[in-house]
Symmetry: C2
Subunit: 335 residues, 2 copies
């Protein structure tokens, strides 16, 4: 009793050809006939050809990866790994760019258009645990620390530890006036808070003062924001001898601002980023950075989602941690 | 007669709660009960809550943007513009990364999972007009020149003219040994062929020889490919005084290879790219490039798709052209 074009035609009292014309949007259908056919489509819940295998479970075979911004290369690179990992499960991955706004993130969390997708791998910026509590539950794996207290499975990296290590690397070079670029208000994102905490830890461990004047906020993390923040630090008179940028695009902007100011990297100011995007392997100078294991993040997220889809959806949420390493390049090492 | 949980429960001879448990994947359902419920779901073509407005037309309210690679920043930037333009039509845009393979591109062109999406904006690399001819027609707008002879609406820019102009800019600087990086076999992509044609036109117009030895192939257009091609040109002994890279990521790789070889840009070798990605506004030196009007490309594509969805799907395909301009920066201009 799965409905076909024929069923719609019978219900609407028209020919199969007419239904086909309406479904395919041809204009030469009388408005009242079109209305009758559309009514019959809605009543029978007619949908063309969803693949039988997924349909048996009421599924589409499609999952979504929702990220704030694809033009932050970290997310574009992560997307490639998620597509690869999901192919092992026969899933098509569609990518939703939320813009990081809370309302758009709520729409995504509710299954995009009411259960169009089977599941979701989600890197939220603005969403809260309360937003998720009200939803009827598109199976979801969260990336990062924005939403905690376990409303859903989650993959994280040790942001505090990674930030502490990369700051420690700068201290190990003998730098003492280490700036940070990318701090944010708590409602803007969790990564900034954790990376700032790791930065502070490293300074304290080395007996260095935490100086507010060396910490530059950036509510977005694009190159332009990094360049502007670096220019601000240079004109403020704080005279940094190193800078930890909370992502690589900020760092690439900072490199540009230092170049324009006639300062040498790393001789005058050493620079580090976070993410290990491809850009930093070709920039002049190349960029030292924290390299999260993106392939592993993607694999863990896909596996958690698969387990959730085929297993007990009411089971307690799980949290898995992916590794990272430091990639040390020209921006902190004189040849 | 749109089916609800209750209808599935009646057909399967179980409680609504049991159907809900199956749909939500809870494990504490007996296998034979689960099988009966799944059978009933399939028979009734039960799908939860597709939005009524779209359903009336048999639609999902979702379109896809299919691109070869999101980590080519041009496509990530274009995606942002498409999301913005589509919002005016109330569409959610999901992004499919095809990898540029013909089989994956065929899957996308057939509507991803059988009409999951209402329509498609598609930048193919490998797809042919014959591939499209066999499909039952997910409404589609093509971007670029890969598929011509009008099987679908299309948005293009004048690649030949743009390549001629940017090469002419290099000739105007007095450069005479102008290399090209990014040529491809005809089955690898159409942009390479058109940009190479424009490059050749400009040389001929200036009375310069077209020298095969100055043309470096690159089957992928990432930074690493540009760096490798540039190194090849430098060691081959052809001694270029300028290079036209067929996209910006190739050019950023070439800048890196020139830096490593101790050559100055633009004094020793002037460099231009194509795409105007954000990276080139912050690189050292900043990159001269062709800037296609990405916002306009996105807007035209979305409007063509809207017209096709609501209009006559059998009407002849339309082709629209978006403008471009040259952005001249440090890589061709001594301060």
């Amino acid at each position: 009793m799965r409905h076909r074009l024929k069923d719609v035609a019978e219900r609407a009292g028209v020919s199969v050809k007419t239904v086909s014309n309406v479904v395919n949007g041809y204009v030469h259908v009388r408005p009242d006939t079109r209305a009758r056919v559309e009514e019959a489509i809605a009543e029978l819940n007619y949908r063309p050809n969803l693949s039988a295998r997924h349909l048996r479970k009421g599924r589409t075979g499609v999952i979504a990866l929702a990220v704030p911004e694809l033009d932050i290369p970290y997310f574009a690179e992560l997307a490639r790994y998620v597509v690869t990992a999901a192919a092992d499960f026969g899933w098509t991955v569609l990518i939703d760019q939320t813009g990081g706004g809370r309302e758009q993130e709520r729409v995504v969390a509710s299954g995009i258009t009411d259960h169009l997708i089977d599941g979701l791998i989600f890197s939220p910026l603005a969403l809260t645990a309360e937003d998720l509590a009200g939803l009827d539950g598109t199976p979801m794996v969260l990336l990062g620390e924005r939403v905690d207290h376990g409303p859903a499975d989650r993959v994280v990296i040790d942001n505090v530890g990674a930030a502490r290590e990369i700051t420690g690397h700068l201290i190990g070079l003998g730098r003492r006036r280490i700036a940070a670029i990318g701090s944010q208000r708590t409602d803007e994102g969790a990564s900034a808070r954790l990376r700032l905490a790791g930065y502070g830890d490293a300074l304290r461990a080395a007996g260095l003062d935490y100086d507010e004047a060396l910490v530059a906020p950036a509510s977005a993390w694009h190159r332009a924001d990094g360049a502007a923040a670096m220019r601000g630090l240079l004109t403020s008179g704080v005279r940094p001898d190193a800078v930890f940028c909370f992502n690589d695009t900020l760092a690439l902007g900072a490199l540009r601002a230092l170049h324009e100011a006639g300062l040498r990297v790393p001789e005058d100011v050493a620079v580090v980023g976070f993410d290990d995007i491809e850009d930093g392997r070709f920039s002049i100078p190349t960029l030292s950075t924290v390299a999260p294991d993106k392939a592993q993040i993607a694999r863990l997220a896909v596996e958690l989602l698969a387990n959730r889809l085929d297993g007990d959806r009411a089971a307690p949420a799980r949290e898995l941690s992916a590794p990272y390493r430091l990639e040390l390049r020209e921006s902190t090492q004189t040849p």
